[in-house]
Symmetry: C2
Subunit: 549 residues, 2 copies
């Protein structure tokens, strides 16, 4: 059997564009002489459609799209993901379904069993879990169709029991094992993190081992605000060999022939930093494209974070489509402007230098009857950051730029940033990248020669909001801070546990308290491109007033 894997980039709710894209892919699969073309989970409406799924009209549009697509399946069969109404009077209103389309109509429907409801996933908010299990026959082959999470729980008695998922009590493929499926198909929408492709390969391999059948895994590609879908779709033989692995972060349609002597390919195993690099570029590009914008603006401070964001934005949008504002105050060092200019020149990207001193003085004058001779503190520091935001947003409003936010994950974690100041922006590019990872990204970007000026990488990080300020005046060194943050955020360890392991008690308490007392700030930051297994945003839902630290 010849199967085409259609790894495509969908736009949530854009039924016209998604339907056309799916029909075009069916035509291409026909040309490739495929018997079957497989699409990704909920591709008709895009994933995640979130609360759009609660609108009856939205579901009607999905049904219409399936009918339209079915009409194009006369020569090739297609498996397409879409929500469908729950025909029973009880339970959630919808199923997360895979439609097998052939000969112009719906042949059968398979519903998703395991509904991820953790981290960034809210599937039980919308969907009823499937409880009916069967295989289907197509051109003499017995096929088991599964949707995403359905293959992420493999019974623990296999050789490789690491794919057993204790969250669930059903093994969907065990339920059809007695029907001896000759092919497993999985429609996925599995968002990127820098560990995800390894997890995915491990899980696919565990399924192939246990069920002794080849597995076709088709993932969505493209970014949906916070979530970046990396593609990397896989065809694995019954013996565990990779027959095809589609590229990361790109649309791709590829034909695989399931036959005993099919050529095999070594699995891709890219490193985290290059993956993060590519993911962020796609994340920026899709955010702009799907919102219908072309141009970005950002404040270039002379520090490493804004430098990396400028570089990534030029890669995503084109070097002429990103405008940098250099906005020195009286506390800015000369090198901040010089280094920023050098960077813009390296990238051939436009910039303006707009000193903020006059506006800052005017604010202080206006406030002097109230502030009197109270000492300089964060109030004055934040005024500078906020003036910069007002200028950036003025350009945004006048010329149609989207402002990019440059806050990194370490800063976002401890609240080291000014709300309505440097925490502004339409999209948080580095909000899931720790400061130490930002340095690694910079070295990766400079791997073939200097793009980020050397001095930006070597100087001590500073917000330059008061004389001779350094980040380390307020924060522990980033190597230490990032370690503690990783234990708390990614690994969900407690202060008590870390202290018991020998971390300095005062330091741990201080860091935990900074993280927890800054939930109110993070509530108002832009959406953050997710690249780790635990990012700030929809996947981490904390109580602002919580008193636990």
């Amino acid at each position: 059997m010849k199967i085409a894997l259609a790894q495509l980039n969908y736009h949530v709710g854009n039924f016209e564009a998604n339907t056309q894209k799916i029909i075009d892919a069916i035509r291409q699969a026909e040309k490739l002489q495929a018997d079957l073309v497989v699409f990704s989970e909920l591709c008709v409406c895009g994933y995640p459609a979130r609360d759009f799924l609660e609108f009856k009209d939205f579901i009607n549009q999905c049904e219409l799209a399936i009918q339209t697509i079915a009409a194009h399946t006369h020569r090739v069969a297609a498996i397409v993901g879409a929500p469908r109404k729950n025909p029973r009077p009880e339970g959630k209103d919808l199923f997360n379904a895979a439609f097998f389309l052939y000969e112009g109509k719906i042949q059968y429907i398979t519903d998703k069993t395991l509904l991820p409801t953790y981290d960034v996933f809210d599937e039980y908010r919308y969907f009823e879990p499937n409880k009916n299990f069967t295989t289907h026959t197509f051109k003499g082959h017995t096929i088991a169709i599964t949707i995403c999470e359905d293959i992420w729980d493999v019974a623990p008695d296999t050789d490789d029991d690491t794919a057993h998922n204790p969250l669930y009590t059903v093994y969907p493929l065990d339920e059809v094992r007695h029907q001896q499926p000759q092919l497993i198909i999985n429609l996925s929408a599995s968002p990127f993190s820098y560990v995800q492709h390894r997890e995915r390969m491990r899980v696919i391999r565990a399924n192939v081992k246990r069920y002794r059948a080849p597995l076709i895994y088709v993932n969505q590609v493209g970014a949906q605000t916070e979530l970046i879908f990396d593609g990397g779709s896989i065809a694995m033989s019954a013996t565990g060999d990779v027959l095809a692995q589609l590229p990361f972060f790109e649309e791709c349609i590829r034909l695989v022939e399931l036959k005993p002597d099919a050529p095999v390919t070594p699995p891709l195993s890219p490193e985290p930093i290059p993956l993060i690099h590519d993911a962020l570029i796609l994340g920026i590009r899709d955010y702009f494209r799907k919102l219908g914008f072309q141009k970005a603006i950002l404040g270039l401070s002379g520090g490493i974070d804004s430098a990396i964001v400028l570089y990534l934005a030029t890669r995503a949008l084109g070097h002429k489509n990103v405008l940098s504002l250099l906005m020195p105050s009286g506390f800015s060092s000369k090198h901040s402007v010089d280094d920023s200019i050098a960077l813009c020149q390296n990238l051939q990207s436009p910039y303006h230098i707009i000193p903020i001193e006059d506006i800052y003085r005017q604010f202080l004058n206006t406030l002097s009857p109230y502030f009197k001779d109270l000492p300089f503190n964060t109030a004055e520091e934040n005024i500078q950051a906020r003036i910069r935001a007002v200028l950036l947003m003025a350009f945004s409003n006048k010329f149609g730029y989207i402002l990019l936010n440059t806050t990194n994950k370490s800063e976002a974690a401890v609240g080291y940033g000014t709300l309505y100041g440097d925490l502004c922006g339409g999209l948080g590019v580095l909000g899931d990248v720790y400061k130490t990872q930002v340095y690694a990204l910079a070295n990766y970007i400079n791997r073939k020669g200097e793009i980020i000026p050397h001095h930006i990488l070597t100087k001590a990080p500073s917000a330059e909001l008061r004389p001779n300020q350094k980040d380390t005046d307020t924060l522990p060194p980033y190597e230490i801070l990032d370690k503690i943050l990783f234990e708390y955020i990614e690994k969900r360890r407690s202060a008590r546990e870390l202290i018991a392991e020998g971390y300095e008690p005062n330091l741990v308490s201080r860091v935990f308290k900074m993280v927890n007392t800054n939930e109110w700030k993070r509530f108002q930051v832009p959406p953050i491109l997710r690249v780790s297994p635990k990012a700030f945003g929809m996947g981490r839902r904390m109580n602002i007033e919580g008193k636990y630290y």
Copy 2:
């Protein structure tokens, strides 16, 4: 049997304070000679604890608290809500449990069956549903213990089948019906909306009717950021009479004796506007108290929204603890300042007048090389709103005020507001109150005499960011706008449906498009106090880039 209903205000994660409060209530119940004191759902940690529940140490603290509380139950039994670890190796890690404590130890545990996972609720994110059903005996009485949602699905063959909930396939109380419970107890954390108390009474009555037993319903009180819990706990006799109804929005411990001749009381049925009024005051008060702040600041524009927020804040925090800034620009009318002063005088609340003209000119000067002679547009309008935000935040940073946001639900819906300008603030007070409801609130506030100056209620709404601006330059009249918004947001109707019903097609399309294309703005607004069944915030999760309208 004598039962004390303990309707208390908990602080999420503050184990010390919550435990002490529960122990104090047990002592008070002893003094009242109660046999049993009933607390609300998850009271040990506070509801909603959100992702704190994913931290092992947090759950350990809950277990320790239960042990500490149990030691105080020698003379009176207590039913206390807390999460507990799922002892089985599969399924979610936790149960949402009720602990029956007596004679110094845990006597038995009942787990929650129906886990709301919609709107503001995420319970299946954390909890495994109960599948074991039984009653328990205490002092010769057979008791069925349920937790919140467990009573919100009553089998449809009762006289009153309106309490049947099609979301679920289990009726928890039907499962123990054959054991003939003589008393039903429900531990709740049911957030306020202006229709909720009627729903609650209806559901409790339906349970009492079907199961022919009295029902003790204990709800949490107090606000947790967005969610306001209104209390209003109820004891209902087997014949459907209200034996006790605790007040809304206040802590209260009350003894009820279950006996045939117990006195009955008419059910409270307050109207929506007075409820919203009281809810918002509690919402402000608890946000400040739980974060450890005393003082609020806001920008007073001369319009109705900021006037109402000032009034509510003075009621929540004390009139001297709320500072208003009047920040006229060259486009402000004289009445804006005069009306604001009159309001501050009515409320005996402090204010400063800080004109923004000089700072605004300085911004325009700084930007003139780039803006050149491009026409005045939203860029210049927004600069004014953002200057005001910088001034308000400067006061906040210098003196420790929390900024209150004054945006109403109509504005938040259509994006009529400046991000990082008037959309700033720590808490959105009116973000779930439509403009037409804001007028109704003003009339309610003025019911005994003028507090909100008459002229503020009668003048046409205006942002005053350009000459002679009116809201109706950009928006349809609020009576029409609010109707369409209500259909879209609360009732989840589609544009297609509204147009089919005779709404003007262009108007409907324009309003829907405004709502959907402003998700990016709403992503960054402060938490909004929820008073309706469908508020912006955690209960409405939309895709920023979605293209469906």
